[in-house]
Amino acid sequence: MLMDLTKLTLEQAREKLDKKEISVKELVKAYQENIKSKNEELNIFLEVFDDIDDQVEKAQAVIDAGEARSLTGIPIAFKDNICIKGRKASAASRYLGEYVAPYNATVTDKLVPHSPVFLGRVNMDEFAMGGSTENSAFGVAKNPHDTSRVSGGSSGGSAAAVAADFALLTLGSDTGGSVRQPASFCGVVGLKPTYGSVSRHGLMAMSSSLDVIGPITKTVADAKIIFDNIKGKDPLDSTSDEKDPVAKKGVYKIGVPRSLLTDEMDKDVLEAFEADLKTLQDKGHEIVDIELPSLKYSLAVYYIIMPCEVSSNMSRYDGVRFGAHVEGKTLEDDYKQSRSQYLGEEVKRRIMLGTYSLSSGYYDAYYNKAWHVRTKMREEVIKVFESIDVIMLPTSPTPAFKIGEKSTDPLKMYLTDIFTVSANLLGVPGITVPTQKVDRDGKLLPVGSQILGPHFHEEWLFDLGGQLE
């Protein structure tokens, strides 16, 4: 019987490639066939690169020379906001459209020496703003488990690509849950690393105090391999940092902030979460209730700080430096027309929210207030980590929702981030692991649980996450 090569994990594929049981060409071809037959329907890849054969040949030569590294010959894809020199990067925006990256992101520089096979660039919400990919200028990326539903966002394409076996693994970016929520919706593993542990250089900036690049994979072990290969201090990112990996523990004390699990949550998701807690308890870990009184404000804090940073970061899209240009009567007119005609509604909405919060007379009431609460949250969490090891929460309050269900109500869409934004505000790492499935209209939809750890304690997340698989 023929083996389906797209079912191999990174570890398994590595072994088969190195033992010459399979060739890079065979492995990549299996993925290419899935893309060819299903991408039109799922809309995951925005572009499939035309030099894949050359990349395959090069990777095979590296393996044949006995110089293979973790990712040599592995078919991967990046979210469309991570730069690969000489290739298009549009952040799924009409504004950038045909923009070609003039340099590599640091994560690209770290992976290129492995000779992986870059298959293409995958769909996302425009400039990473959204929770469903419905804000992509190039249409929604559908959920492979039920095509009437969203893949989540903003790294929906990255998560759906792994779930649909379009790529063995992908990179996404996580500002308020953009790796974890789509990974949960698509039934794959997603890691949001500690803020600063992975360089942001070459990632199109959305909210600079929150953004981080993270892997989306089939297994927790694979996520660890990618994280180990992309992390590290980078002179090109002044907020990057590194620490030695912490030692694993035999028994973990897991804190659950129960007051956040309200009646508004989907009942099945809550049940799935309780089952995951039970699994870990049965393995000997200790589950305790914790109180984090400020955490309930995390979404309100997030929807001030993030748009403020967005409004500042998006000022570079002025019709002058790159991307779209609309000719107006004056230079100011050029700015206004280029931005208004080529940026999407959600991007503009966030620029407006941020500009308002930062404007004279409102700065104290909003931006300073938000930072005040953010600091309180951090203090509470640092304190709680003195008595427990990790925090567990559901990844999303619901399974994947229907396309169009929330797209007309921004606040309703924002509320889907409720369990994920706190990790970004705190800068701590979080991993989502697919554990259960819930039935919706006769279709089984994946649900994930999330583990948050102290800064630079990814090793604990891999250890515990692996026990949940």
Binding site: Y99, V100, P102, Y103, Y195, G196, P235, S238, T239, S240, D241, S294, Y297, A300, V301, Y303, I304, S311, S315, G319, V320, R321, F322, G323, A324, H325, T330, L331, E332, D334, Y335, K336, Q337, R339, S340, L343, K348, R349, I351, M352, L353, T355, Y356, S359, D364, Y366, N368, K369, A370, H372, V373, T375, R378, E379, I382, P410, L411, Y414, G427, H455
Partner: protein, 99 residues
């Protein structure tokens, strides 16, 4: 309550333009979103300074040394500009004459 006039001003600051209908819809979004955000008023204080304990990130500056060859990226960066004139990015004249 956010007025239409205020929003027009914010749009100008953000260098964006809205039709009257779009601005009205945005006003509704603002009411909803800031209505939700207002729960922050339950928390006392608005001191935005971070305590050393709460700040996990420190800015790490590198030496101010050139790491790329002179001109290495010039062409690629200029090429990205929608209007290029030789080694310049072209914009409209903003001083002197009629604007």
């Amino acid at each position: 309550m956010i007025t239409t006039q205020e929003l027009e001003h914010i749009a100008h600051l953000a260098r964006l333009e809205y039709t009257p209908e779009a601005l009205e819809a945005l006003r509704g979004d603002f009411e909803n979103i800031f209505g939700y955000i207002d729960q922050l008023n339950e928390v006392e204080g608005s001191d935005s300074r971070q305590s050393a304990e709460a700040s996990s990130v420190k800015n790490a500056l590198r030496e101010d040394e050139a790491t790329t060859a002179n001109g290495e990226y010039t062409d690629a960066l200029l090429e990205a500009a929608p209007k290029r004139n030789g080694n310049f990015v072209e914009v409209k004249k903003i001083i002197g004459g009629s604007q």
